[in-house]
Symmetry: C2
Subunit: 428 residues, 2 copies
């Protein structure tokens, strides 16, 4: 820790503009994220060391999920430009704001802007640092599994809402990563415009070994039921479901509905694996979770879907402030100021720091490395799921857990295909 005098020398007022939706139907609405930012500010203020001298002046502006984001930033920045922008999350909102902020030399930190396009930091997105793992990072989990288990092709099934487009962008990432080595097909459900006919959907499954799906929980269940009825869940295919944002709004992996199909669905889901963010168990995170939940409940927001855990956006914006303070402190020690946005941005890249839920590692391109888990049904009687593998982005390794069962990730019909040179072998 620095002596008090040195800290005082770094006293600085920092204008922060938080650009997030005011509509609480978004997992990253202002009211949901504000408690996390306030938590981080309290922590920075109480720090006896380098950050004590920073006085953050935070304004919250409604970004909506589209053009309003840019309008908010422009209208609020004409007089005095902010020193830091947090958000937006939605891709179309973020694209416009990040471009302008980069042009103005203002750092942007977001727990969103997860689409692959934002990875190109050489031009319009130069000042963007992503504090939550992007879709490309999630996709690495798949590419490592494809390598390890020898799978060769995949069908990507996604439900594109044509607005936020989370599933579209998520599978765009998977597509980008797998395409180099594997044969990839895609199927867009677009359930807002067309009724999803599960029987029709599974007709596309026959030509692929691995089915990777991103859609709402009910669509996934219909598809798995149809696949089960056509005996596609007997091991000839590997099924994946992607749970986005460690919130169960997307990709809820539960078969249970309390209807007459539950028994069948439980059988079907024995073949379904879910890829999700690795959950943290750090003690400090528990405290953070409790405080954030208290604040959002006080604000009258309660979403029973994500009652169990604080989602990755809330966590990410907390860590964003820590990371910015860390970098700002360093550039100021080196004679630069809060107005040197490019300097501050590059100080945030290629470094690891302690976030609220564990270590946060930002790669040399300014994107957070991601840790993901693969969950599978480990008790077929009870129909319960457990984490069977973890993927650690920082060193690209897969860890097998006790519940892991290799057979489950091995294609049954593959043996046949592997030895086509034995003409006498039965193909039955």
């Amino acid at each position: 820790l620095l002596p008090a005098r040195s800290a005082a020398a770094l006293r600085e007022d920092i204008d922060v503009l938080v650009v997030l939706p005011s509509n609480n139907s978004y997992l990253f609405s202002i009211a949901r994220v504000e408690p996390a930012i306030e938590y981080a500010l309290r922590r920075l203020r109480s720090d006896p060391g380098p950050y004590a001298g920073f006085a953050f002046n935070v304004r919250y502006e409604n970004s909506g999920c589209g053009n309003e984001a840019l309008f908010s930033v422009v209208d609020r920045s004409c007089g005095a430009k902010p020193d830091l922008i947090l958000g937006p999350v939605c891709e179309y909102a973020a694209a416009q704001v990040v471009r302008l902020a980069s042009h103005w030399d203002i750092p942007v930190l977001s727990a969103g802007a997860l689409a692959s396009g934002f990875s190109d930091k050489h031009r319009e997105y130069s000042h963007l640092t992503r504090v939550a793992p992007s879709y490309l990072k999630m996709a690495e989990t798949f590419s490592e599994m494809f390598k390890r288990f020898g799978w060769k092709d995949a069908l990507l099934v996604f439900d594109d809402d044509k607005e936020e487009r989370n599933c579209y962008f998520a599978l765009e990432g998977v597509h980008g990563v797998l395409l180099a080595h594997d044969k990839i097909d895609v199927l867009d459900l677009h359930s807002r415009a067309y009724r999803v006919d599960a029987e029709e959907v599974i007709k596309h499954f026959y030509d692929s070994e691995v089915i990777i799906m991103c859609a709402g929980a009910d669509i996934i269940r219909d598809i798995m039921l149809a696949a089960h009825r056509r005996r596609l869940t007997n091991g000839s295919k590997i099924f994946f479901n992607i749970e986005l944002f460690n919130s169960s709004s997307y990709g809820n992996g539960s078969w249970w509905r309390g209807d007459k199909y539950d028994a069948e669905a439980k059988l079907a889901y024995a073949a379904l694996n879910t890829v999700t963010l690795l959950r943290s168990v750090k003690a400090e995170f528990e405290n953070f979770s409790i405080e954030v939940k208290k604040s959002t409940q006080k604000a009258g927001i309660y979403n029973h879907d994500d009652g169990e855990n604080v989602n990755m956006f809330v966590e990410g914006f907390h860590d964003a402030l820590l990371l910015y303070a860390l970098a700002l402190h360093e550039v100021m020690k080196n004679g630069f100021s809060k107005k040197d946005g490019a300097q501050i941005t590059h100080r945030m890249w290629n470094r690891t720091f302690e976030g609220i839920a564990g270590q946060v590692s930002i790669d040399s391109n300014g994107d957070r490395n991601g840790d993901f888990s693969v969950m599978a049904m480990t008790d077929q009687e009870a129909g319960t799921f457990e984490v069977v593998m973890n993927y650690f982005g920082v060193n690209r390794t897969i860890q097998m857990l006790p519940g892991f069962n290799r057979e489950r990730f091995t294609l049954k019909d593959r043996h046949r295909n592997t030895f086509p040179e034995h003409p006498n072998q039965s193909s039955g």
Copy 2:
């Protein structure tokens, strides 16, 4: 004309921000368009009537063809917002500027922003008026021909440069208009990334009756030569080439190169029709053309490709100022001000006025109706082209000219298909 006193009462300073590229490789660069705007300003100033009181203060800012456009507008508008924005032309530049201008209640007039997406004026593009015919208007020429000549399907061949994307957007318009009734296939050449193999391209021609192409002149020639060698130019297909912007940079319909293929190309081009903007012959336009060309030559810009005529962008931005002055005068008479952007915008819609090259008709959606010509080879000996049909957008009519030859627009094999119930008829 109004009496002098009334005109004086309407005295008003108007800040105009022109957002166009400074790079003269664009047909609508600042240096190319500025003489047309100056010509219009002189005309308005010398008007003894309603416009005499308007003092236009015009600033020119570099839009580039992408994000710079927005940055220019934001950086230049923070202090005082302009009353009128002219440009941008490039689609990606225009989208960003028009959104922000609409949010700020500032009218935008452009001779570009031709893509179909800008037709939706209900939301983000509410303040956009298009003074040159959009790609959808050009596409009407095709839909009228399809109706009249009974064609049923088309293949759209376009060269997408993935930057300006003029051919992509042009054929997107054709696609949108034809799709309702006809079977449409598309073929993207993307010549920047892949060598165009004309032999491969024409393999896609066999299943379609009408081939509509948008690409550089040399690519069109290669394709027509290949089609001719495979006897596809014998009347079983109708070929179209789209000339964009009444500038020969796109879709130059000439077969001549001075190489050994000229004779063959002349034969091939006997089957090629070119759709282009209808050329004006108004006397005043000649004077305008000469003045504009003098100015651009004085500025050191000379492009022998468009030496013959002033392109539609230059013409459009001239007329844009007239239209704006007309509308502003009216809203001021009605007690509104230059700051009532939505009012001014709606006054410009659904009206006809006299532009520099002829009547300009703006439809009720704020988009200019377009008049187009179809050119065809009328002297096969000399290999020369003439206008054989005109399409008038305002009443959606086709006019046949003396050079028109119905056989040329009739599918040869169609007779066979029309009478499949005659089993004895020879199919030879």
